[in-house]
């Protein structure tokens, strides 16, 4: 019998090791897996690659990830702290202590989607003509220039959703899905925290993400993102 629901945080986070690549869902305050991110911060790992829309949101969730130098590489669309003074993670980048790949948000999303969909690379119009694509492969189709973008995958994805069932099917509330639904398809192991476990099972019309993409589900109350 399939049962993807795990009983505690330790079981949820099992197997995440130093040097892992980890996708983290969330846009602003929606869909941020606060409990899982804080558990990750408490694991005392090093050499992590974090793949998330905005570094600030994860830093607000658990400052130890950057403060304790757990992160070596970041792939993101926004690497800027909320204050005029640079955040710790911005300073680390300026000092060369971590490397950064900064992407347009749509390219970020589509590269993750490609990673889950078996598409190794695609051409995109976004960022053509900007400094982001200097020196990269570009090609014209129908008179317009496009840049080649490669798929993104990761060892783990951490998501938050509203509801799950034992099959791992997910229901997202509001704008919770954002990058999480694609990240789940692009990671080898997808771990989801949810407000509710449906004992009767989600109905087909409620399911936003089929359980095939989810390996572990943990019930965890919503926490404010800023600790």
């Amino acid at each position: 019998m399939i049962n993807k629901v795990v009983g505690d945080l330790a079981a949820a986070m099992a197997g995440i090791q130093s040097d892992a690549s980890i996708m983290i869902s969330g846009f602003s305050n929606a869909g941020v897996p606060t409990t899982l991110v804080r558990a990750l911060g408490a694991m005392n790992l090093t050499g992590l690659t974090l793949i998330m829309n905005a570094a600030r949101r994860i830093d607000e969730c658990d400052a130890s990830l950057f403060n304790d130098r757990r992160v070596d590489h970041v792939i993101t669309t926004a690497f800027r702290g909320p204050e005029a003074a640079p955040a710790n993670f911005e300073q680390q980048w300026k000092r060369g202590e971590l490397s950064l790949e900064i992407l347009p948000q749509g390219t970020f999303a589509e590269r993750i989607r490609a990673g889950g969909a078996g598409i190794p690379a695609f051409f995109s119009p976004t960022a053509v003509g900007t400094s982001l694509v200097e020196g990269r492969e570009q090609r014209d189709f129908n008179g317009q220039t496009y840049v080649l973008e490669e798929a993104l995958t990761a060892d783990f994805a951490l998501l938050r959703a509203q509801k799950a069932d034992r099959h791992g099917n997910l229901f997202f509330r509001g704008t919770q899905a954002n990058f999480g639904s694609a990240m789940a398809t692009a990671a080898r192991t997808t771990i989801v925290e949810v407000a509710e476990i449906s004992e009767t099972g989600l109905r087909p019309e409620e399911i936003h993400l089929p359980g095939i993409y989810v390996q572990r589900v943990l019930q965890a109350p919503r926490q404010d993102q800023i600790a």
């Binding site: 911005e90 900007t130 899905a177």
Partner: protein
């Protein structure tokens, strides 16, 4: 909302932020699908003519953003791209970021209104990298939106606080997109970009053509039917 009476400010008074947003909003057609960037652009939603039905897109996954939620009534899991707790309008749909940017990149949005540091006469846009020595980079959705939307409208002050032109022959800040800006709303004028030229469609009363040219770093063409840029008083007479 209902349109307030037109104001009669002193000649040569630049538009306020709200007035620039109001002016931009008047060009949103009935039935348009529109993405509004952070800052002044998002204010435009307050000023679109009430009889027009407009679907506001938020790139984190909403088509049909409604008003900001009343205090205490918002859902923290339902936010717009500016992190506001929002409501959904009649006919709204919600989807993930992949679907949202497929909609953007695929050319399905009618207009995006964005802020800018600089716009060049050839339609180039610079609005993502302020070349700060201290701060990290932030791209967000601006590159996708400005490349994908059918029309790119910009709201920005005509000059920087230091008085430097923002409408230029060539952007000095890093580009967001090349050659995609169609129209610019400033506190002094409304300009279209046509065949690599800045064409002034409207200018505030009391500002001479040469005065506008003096604060613009690219040649200006004044439309034969160039009109006065007049906005209602939206700031309580300030």
């Amino acid at each position: 909302m209902s349109t307030p009476p037109l104001s009669t400010p002193p000649l040569g008074t630049p538009l306020t932020r709200n007035q620039m947003a109001w002016r931009a909003a008047q060009d949103l057609a009935d039935g348009a699908y529109v993405n509004l960037g952070l800052g002044m652009p998002v204010l435009a939603a307050n000023y679109a003519p009430a009889e027009r039905e407009i679907f506001y897109h938020s790139e984190n996954g909403i088509l049909g953003v409604g008003p900001v939620a009343l205090p205490g009534q918002g859902d923290p899991e339902l936010v717009d791209a500016g992190s506001q707790l929002v409501t959904l309008r009649d006919g709204a749909s919600v989807f993930d970021s992949v679907a949202s940017f497929a909609m953007i990149r695929g050319g399905h949005l009618d207009i995006t209104i964005l802020g800018a540091f600089q716009v060049a006469a050839n339609g180039d846009l610079a609005n993502w990298d302020a070349l700060s020595a201290e701060k990290g980079p932030l791209i967000g959705g601006a590159m996708d939106l400005s490349m994908g939307a059918k029309a790119v409208h910009i709201i920005m002050r005509h000059t920087t606080r230091e008085g430097e032109a923002r409408l230029v022959t060539a952007c000095s800040y890093p580009l967001t997109v090349r050659g995609r800006v169609n129209r610019v709303y400033t506190d002094l004028a409304v300009l279209d970009i046509e065949q690599g030229q800045l064409v002034v469609r409207e200018i505030i009363p009391g500002l001479r053509h040469d005065e506008l040219a003096a604060v613009t770093d690219a040649p200006l063409t004044f439309a034969a039917d160039c009109r006065e840029l007049i906005a209602p008083d939206l700031d309580g007479g300030i």
